[in-house]
Symmetry: C2
Subunit: 692 residues, 2 copies
């Protein structure tokens, strides 16, 4: 039940709230107190007596039992209680990078014993204490060893949410705890079972700095009672910045954990019961001292705006990589020599889809996106009025060719535009072999990256049917990219996930995903040199978009080429700190006709359709803490990097993109040139291309 | 014939000298003039008229022939003349990173046409002009596309040998041309057919900076006539630093190419023939104007010290990766419960080798290393004299156990030590089940990295046979590592090369290697997480060695462990510039008895045995320009990095090494922690281990 119901919210992923407890060897009591009486969903509980040290135990060799001081036998709770309600808290004294060799060895032994015990209990996750110093290599080496043969348990590395711009803290030389996490996960090679639990403290870093974490695998936010303020009625509440952060976390399925002691004089709680929040000496009938904090989080959750219908529809697509539509299938044949034309007068005719692999359901997804067709209708209407003056409305017929007409929504939109403007229209919906003279054409060939579905080549091919004074809708389109942190997408670039699943299987596929993710990704080159269509959600957008390629139609130049080359530079804001770039999110913007545009580039995205990205490009990161997101029906495209690149403020990221055209195919190549050059990805289109 | 004969030099790899020429469409004349008359071995010749521009040609479409202006038809020379005597020089005007799109497109077209032509001619190599500016991404993208489907032709990227510490040159912002090369090869993903041709100019960078290039795939050194001085008799000669550089290059099989015009008033050459060095207007019977430069290079070559016998014997092992001896085979069984002992009185008995996989030839290789046995003999002699005073020499018998005796050379050395010192000795050579009381033991279990062949575990096991006052020879040993540039080793970490070839097949294997290298290495994790035994030759040692692990014997401590963990920091000298670390060269040093040591760590390597590394550790790079190298019979060990790491002066390289012990195996793990963390290599010994 957790944080309660929220109107229109995603039912499949409930939001839970846990509580951090101290060691208690009476686990059933600990659980019943915190769950039944406290109302929490789970406990983050120590598994072993904190006084235990392996090196001290060895002195007793030969005398007495060797039972390890675990918190209770595995039989004190049912298997489902263990796995659903207990997150193991690894002893916080461990320090694998200590100069003291005995402490180091004790720490390694204890860590392995506790994880082994937690695995035996089938816990879903264990919380690893934060590294004690700036160096974490031995800790990471040991965790990495554990990860190699771990069951499906997650390891949450505890990281304080700290970034001091000026000074350095004791244990984070750069003053930025993200650096600590970054070192640790690089040493563990981006292992998908290693994730983050962020300690939310009373002061917060800048919004840009916080934004980085949304692309990282953050599983839990541990909120300390110290971080709460007190409201007029004596109850705990959070600052506006904290509220925004927490609702952002909830929107990204990050669990909340309350930690610490009661710090607020909540009227109804008596002082003595409040003092011991672990509940060891408190009757379970008593109200839990941390209940007011849970209540406040539940209040924040329930207050969140309901998701709009489109967003709910697309929930299951979030961060789900799809091979680009028609990936390796030729689109160009639709304007080959065997054209045939279906002619519309003023009635609608259902006809065979142009692109052979799309299922009926996919078209429905596309056609849901009514804003798109409204924009096309506006563009066509404006063009009709421009070409045909009112006095000739009844005599002049405009001929329209719909290139890539799908099931006909553009045809419908065109007919409506004709009706609205009172202009006469003859439409050719191109399937094969159109042989009429064409004066105006409308294309639905745009992909997420504008030109990635061969629209330049298709429209060039159709251009021979266009009169010299004809109009192309769209008249131009530009692709855009921006660097993103996207650890989930990076980890999901796995052959078995992407190659065999069509986008519409996604909903029922979540359970298969979980299995597939356990099979350690063999990061072969082909899958890291492919661009994916994806509804990006858990990503951090590190810099504003830059334009990449532009195509203009019609283009009657004799020397035209659809090859393109663009060098781009991105600067991350100085208060972000360093960040990891897993790849590039790509978008497009199309000028349909004069001022009517359509696009998904975040800073100019078509209103209503793309409100999530409608904030200014400067504070683009903040916008991701908004909760009422709407997502475009055209998802973004994601260009991965084979090896993620770490960037630092003041060192621009230089990126090169090529659109290459061969005799039989079109493909992209891309690379990072600075700060450190990457290999050129997808050389000769060896991994990913679109056939002509 | 080339540079002539050199005493004791490697006959298999002749040293050749070429000459750079301008465009000449009379290729047979060009060849005969430069080879027959000039004495050069090959020409570096333009393949296409430098005035050709594809964009200008297109204007002629429809009019006239489309034959490209290549230098002569493929029939003007025989196939073997083309492939043996011509290196293709790609038009130097090309600039793929120009801001001018027409120039950029022309450049790409021309580059692809010329390479295609050179492939058709089966040339062995083409010389690519140096990138024109700081940015080379588009050039590299195009070359990378070409490399994907190239036959076995090499592409030599021309790079000026420039490193200015203070100012920056026009086209290399950092002032260091190595950076340009580094960007290019990273973009081309360390392709094995992409190599370097260095332009040697009149001023040279520092020795440390030059040293970096020995680990890079340098195939040619182009020496400009401007770089020569004039000697008292008016002939060209080189400065001492240039001489050292060139002999260093010759020692690393780098071809020399003479470029430029006659700059020296050599008495016997008439001025008019000297002016046109390409020979276009000069009779082939005339003496070639650049002949004096060739003669000087030949003189330098012939003057080089002859290679010592051991070095000649080991030539075929240079940079040849070998799986560590006994890699996955248990050594420990030699001191298991089934020991048997072969007893020696004062005669030598041939017996079965201890380590089951070693062929007889391998033992002969080992036993060639007489300095090693002299050191053991000294250590044993000293120990015998220490333990047995002169007056008891005839009454006291010392018992010696040889653990890991091989075919008996240590037994022989021991007997000789006994004879020399006049002490009585009883020797047990351990094969299986020794059951005698042992007072002194000698081990031959040391690997290239000291403890990598389980010597700690073997000697621990044998220790129960050692009296409390017994002596272990060696008494201790320490492993060492240093970061190296080693592009050849990195490219050779290929499954098919390493897994199936025993070290002694190496000599006949060179032709197979060439084939295997064409199969693009699929850099799987296992092979990059394995340490290799290798006679390192074409490597750049970037910083002095640091000690890693030390083991001392006997060790009667009850809590002893053979696990080790070491954090190391390396600083590269500030005048080196940046450099690429492909991995770590590992060595050992063993204290045999008191001051008698044996080892291959470069700064302390045993004299005579290891003179190549006997220079001080500070100017370790310079020493690699010495020509009279001798190589240890114990080769170094090489720990690769899965992804090479670029390091810069002032940013220390922090490296962590672990020796891990499980119940059935022993293994190393390693990682880079700074400047950028790498994955921990060989987690849990998943790729490389030694079984117990």
């Amino acid at each position: 039940m957790a944080l309660g119901e929220r109107g229109g919210w995603d039912k499949s992923e409930s939001r839970y709230c846990g509580v951090e407890t101290d060691f208690n060897d009476d686990m059933p009591h600990l659980l019943s107190f915190n769950l039944s009486s406290g109302g929490f969903d789970f406990v983050v509980a120590s598994l072993m007596d904190p006084n235990y040290r392996p090196s001290l135990m060895e002195k007793d060799i030969g005398g007495g039992s060797h039972v390890l001081p675990f918190a209770g036998s595995d039989l004190v709770l049912s298997p489902s209680q263990w796995s659903s309600h207990v997150v193991g808290k690894i002893s916080s004294w461990i320090d694998l990078d200590s100069e003291d060799e005995i402490l180091r060895t004790d720490s390694e032994t204890t860590l392995k014993q506790e994880i082994s015990w937690a695995s035996h209990l089938s816990l879903q996750a264990c919380l690893l204490p934060s590294p004690k110093g700036a160096s974490c290599a031995n800790y990471a080496r040991c965790v990495n060893q554990i990860l190699q043969s771990l069951n499906n348990m997650q390891l949450w590395l505890r990281i304080p949410l700290v970034k001091n711009d000026d000074d350095t803290t004791d244990f984070i030389p750069s003053g930025d705890s993200w650096e600590l996490w970054n070192s640790f996960r690089l040493l563990c090679e981006h292992h998908s079972q290693l994730s983050v639990a962020l300690d939310v403290l009373s002061s917060l870093p800048s919004a840009n700095s916080l934004g980085r974490w949304l692309g990282e695998p953050v599983r839990a936010a541990i909120i300390h009672t110290d971080s709460f303020l007190t409201n007029a009625r004596g109850y705990p509440c959070l600052s506006r910045r904290h509220q925004k952060l927490i609702t952002g976390f909830l929107n990204h399925s990050i669990q909340v954990v309350i930690s610490g002691k009661l710090n607020h004089g909540v009227p109804s709680v008596s002082l003595d019961s409040a003092l011991d929040h672990t509940g060891t000496n408190v009757e379970s009938s008593q109200r839990h001292s941390l209940r007011p904090y849970l209540d406040y989080i539940a209040y924040l959750y329930q207050r969140m705006d309901p998701l709009p219908e489109q967003e709910r529809f697309e929930l299951s697509y979030r961060d789900f990589l799809q091979s680009p539509l028609q990936g390796h299938n030729p689109l160009f044949h639709i304007i080959s020599d065997e054209f045939c034309t279906i002619e519309f007068s003023n009635y609608y005719l259902s006809f065979q889809p142009l692109m052979d692999n799309l299922e009926a359901q996919t078209y429905e997804t596309f056609e849901k996106d009514s804003v798109k067709y409204i924009q096309y209708q506006r563009a066509i209407g404006n063009a009709l009025v421009d070409r045909v003056p009112d006095e000739e409305a009844s005599s002049l017929t405009t001929v329209l060719m719909v290139v890539g007409a799908g099931r006909g929504p553009l045809v419908r939109a065109s007919l409506q535009a004709a009706e609205e403007t009172g202009r006469k229209l003859k439409i050719y919906a191109v399937e094969k072999n159109p042989n009429a003279v064409v004066t105006l054409h409308v294309s639905e060939l745009l992909g997420s990256f504008g030109d990635n579905e061969l629209s330049p080549e298709c429209l060039d091919g159709a251009q021979r049917f266009l009169k010299q004074d004809g109009i192309s809708i769209p008249s131009s389109y530009t692709s855009f990219i921006q660097p993103v942190t996207a650890s989930k997408l990076h980890n999901d670039v796995i052959p078995c996930l992407c190659a065999q699943v069509s986008p519409l299987e996604a909903i029922s596929f979540s359970s298969k995903c979980a299995l597939a993710l356990q099979v350690k990704s063999h990061k072969d080159v082909v899958h890291f040199e492919t661009a994916y269509v994806v509804k990006v959600h858990s990503v951090a957008r590190l810099a504003p978009c830059e334009p990449v390629f532009t195509f203009t139609h019609p283009n009657f130049s004799t020397k035209k080429s659809n090859q393109r080359y663009k060098k781009l530079r991105f600067e991350i804001p100085s208060d972000t700190g360093s960040a990891m770039v897993h790849g590039f999110a790509g978008y497009f913007d199309a000028m349909l006709y004069k001022d009517v545009h359509l696009g998904i580039e975040p800073s100019t995205a078509t209103p209503n359709m793309f409100s999530c990205c409608a904030s200014s490009s400067v504070c683009f990161v903040e916008s991701y803490f908004d909760t009422g997101l709407q997502i475009p029906a055209w998802f973004a495209i994601f260009f991965p990097l084979r090896t993620p690149v770490c960037i630092r403020p003041g060192s621009p990221l230089e990126v090169h993109f090529w659109r290459c055209c061969g005799s039989t195919k079109v493909w992209y190549e891309w690379c990072v040139a600075s700060p450190n050059p990457s290999p050129v990805h997808n050389s000769n289109g060896r991994s990913y291309w679109v056939g002509l």
